[in-house]
């Protein structure tokens, strides 16, 4: 009960801070521009002649997030350490976990807001035809979960450094790896190198592999579990790193 109040207080502060800085608006504008451009020009939204968003819109999300989410997550801890407010935060009567969760939830909620602002696409597709809104809903859920996983990895890299740029680059590289091992090319490559079973094991660690189902409208508990456990693991790692700073 009490801990939930603390988490909420931290999250509220963080979320307000996002909207006090230009970062939030820049991020949302770029995200929406990318969504629009890619859906209509590269996703052949009209040319497909099908009322759906999976191939034209959600298809691009793993790639957008690759660049955008590390930019949202990079400041989470790096900025606290640079400015010195980490010392304030860690000497307040809250546990490190409450701080980690509060900050993570705030950024995740921010990503949810950005994602929700793509609603005109959903209206458009409903206006033009009769899409399966269940499928679209599932894809939104999957996209948000995937964004959370990217974000949790950015949390780790942000806790490791006081330079936001370093955090951005490192999390971009890590996320790129987790993304690329799921592509068809990488699967072929690993098949030739290690055989089918190991190649599939490697690709099962990819965001892409677990997102495909969602974009087709399938909420598979294994995919949900994958993203949630990745988030849990990353936040745990963040707490270990923060604890190390105390020694």
């Amino acid at each position: 009960m009490n801990s939930w109040v603390n988490i909420k207080t931290i999250a509220k502060r963080e979320l307000v801070a996002y909207f006090m800085s230009p970062l939030a608006y820049v991020f949302i504008v770029i995200f929406l521009l990318l969504c629009g451009t890619f859906t209509f020009f590269f996703g052949y939204f009209y040319e497909r002649g099908v009322a759906e968003l999976g191939q034209s819109f959600f298809f691009w999300h793993p790639w957008f997030y690759l660049f955008l989410v590390p930019a949202v997550g990079m400041r989470l801890w790096a900025e606290e350490r640079r400015v010195g407010t980490l010392e304030l935060l860690m000497t307040m009567p809250i546990t490190p976990w409450q701080a980690i969760l509060g900050k993570f939830l705030a950024s995740w909620l921010f990503l949810a807001i950005a994602l929700a602002l793509t609603f005109p696409l959903w209206i458009t597709v409903n206006y033009l035809g009769n899409p399966d809104n269940g499928v679209i809903f599932a894809a939104y859920v999957g996209s948000w979960l995937m964004a959370g996983a990217y974000l949790a990895i950015s949390c780790i890299t942000s806790a490791m450094t006081r330079a936001q740029v370093v955090s951005f680059i490192v999390s971009l590289v890590v996320c790129a790896l987790l993304l690329l091992v799921g592509t068809g090319g990488a699967l072929e490559f690993f098949k030739n190198l290690f055989g089918v079973s190991i190649a599939e094991a490697i690709s099962s660690f990819s965001f892409l592999t677990h997102f495909v189902g969602f974009s087709k409208g399938v909420i598979d508990s294994r995919d949900v579990l994958f993203f949630l456990s990745l988030i849990g693991f990353s936040l745990f790692t963040t707490s270990v790193i923060l604890r190390e700073h105390r020694h």
């Binding site: 006090m20 407010t85 304030l88 860690m90 000497t91 009567p93």
Partner: protein, 317 residues
């Protein structure tokens, strides 16, 4: 309220803090002195639970900072070195946030923020973003944060750093006033502050406590304590020097000639010797003495002789 026992902090191979013990009770203001890098901030960071001690324990209000961190932290207010504050918030927003984290909501929160704003003279900048504040205001904003919940224990790392003389004075008065009901530790390297604010001072050097006592007790360690300075007309330098040096209780005599006025200081063998002044007066009977006074002892000299013993000896020669 605060009990520090045999505190040790090792960074790599360096002993930043090397076995420090002391206690601070309610109603005391402990001044924490020492050269830069002596281990003041590290000690304070361990007391507030920001970093973990390598060895030793800290208890605040009976709660062990490592074992029961939340209970201990609730009792404490902390102003870290360089006074960090969230730059992307207004002063009011920042103080409101710290009040909420301290469990104050609604009316209690509003009152706490108003009180802190009032005590720290922040009314003018209340709705300004922390980022745009001058250094002095930012410092006071962080100070306000530390007293928002009216804590029993205050840990202040250089609370007057970066303030102008008026602000320094205000903050010192505030600390002294709050020190009547709280246990306060504050670090500084401004020695006049120790006299103005502290009921007790600890000098630390290279991670160890090298002196611990009231400002008066520390001053007694100075060779200036009990020294007698007099201004004489109509006597030669050598005559004055000879007469004063002959006194049994005199350690040495320093002469400063300025035209016909000669200023001499006689240092007693035992610092703070109460009878020394009388002896000097006896010895100079019949001279034309324009001024005579007993020195109180100088904290800065004590500080230097304790933390840099070699250089002080050189200067005295």
């Amino acid at each position: 309220m605060i009990k520090v026992e045999n505190l040790v902090k090792v960074f790599g191979t360096k002993h930043a803090v090397d076995g420090i013990s002391f206690a601070v009770e309610r109603g005391e203001v402990l001044g924490f002195l020492g050269p830069n890098g002596a281990g003041k901030s590290t000690t304070m960071r361990m007391i507030t639970g920001f970093i973990a001690p390598t060895e030793g324990t800290v208890t605040v209000g009976g709660f062990d900072v490592v074992e029961q961190p939340l209970a201990a932290k609730r009792l404490m207010g902390y102003l870290p070195e360089n006074a960090p504050a969230y730059t992307d918030m207004t002063v009011q927003g920042f103080l409101g946030f710290t009040a909420e984290i301290r469990g104050l909501h609604g009316e209690a929160k509003r009152k706490a923020v108003a009180r802190a704003v009032d005590l720290c003279f922040l009314e003018n900048v209340r709705h300004q973003s922390v980022e745009t504040l001058s250094k002095g205001y930012r410092h006071r904003t962080c100070f306000a944060q530390s007293i928002i919940h009216d804590p029993d224990v205050l840990i202040l790392d250089e609370p007057t750093d970066g303030l102008d003389p008026n602000q320094k004075h205000e903050i010192r008065m505030l600390i002294r006033k709050m020190g009547e009901k709280k246990a306060i530790i504050f670090s500084t390297h401004i020695l006049e502050e120790v006299d103005a604010v502290c009921s007790r001072a600890v000098i630390i050097d290279r991670g160890r406590i090298v002196a611990n006592g009231t400002p008066e007790q520390l001053r007694q360690k100075s060779e200036w304590a009990g020294a007698v300075t007099l201004r004489v007309v109509g006597q030669s330098e050598s005559a004055i020097k000879d007469r004063l040096t002959q006194l049994r209780a005199t350690k040495r005599v320093a002469i400063l000639a300025n035209g016909s006025h000669i200023k001499a200081t006689a240092f007693p063998r035992t610092a703070g010797d109460g009878d020394f002044t009388r002896e000097v007066i006896e010895a100079t009977r019949g001279w034309q003495v324009e001024e005579l006074h007993t020195e109180e002892g100088r904290l800065d000299e004590v500080f230097r002789s304790i933390t840099m013993p070699d250089t002080v000896k050189d200067q005295t020669k």
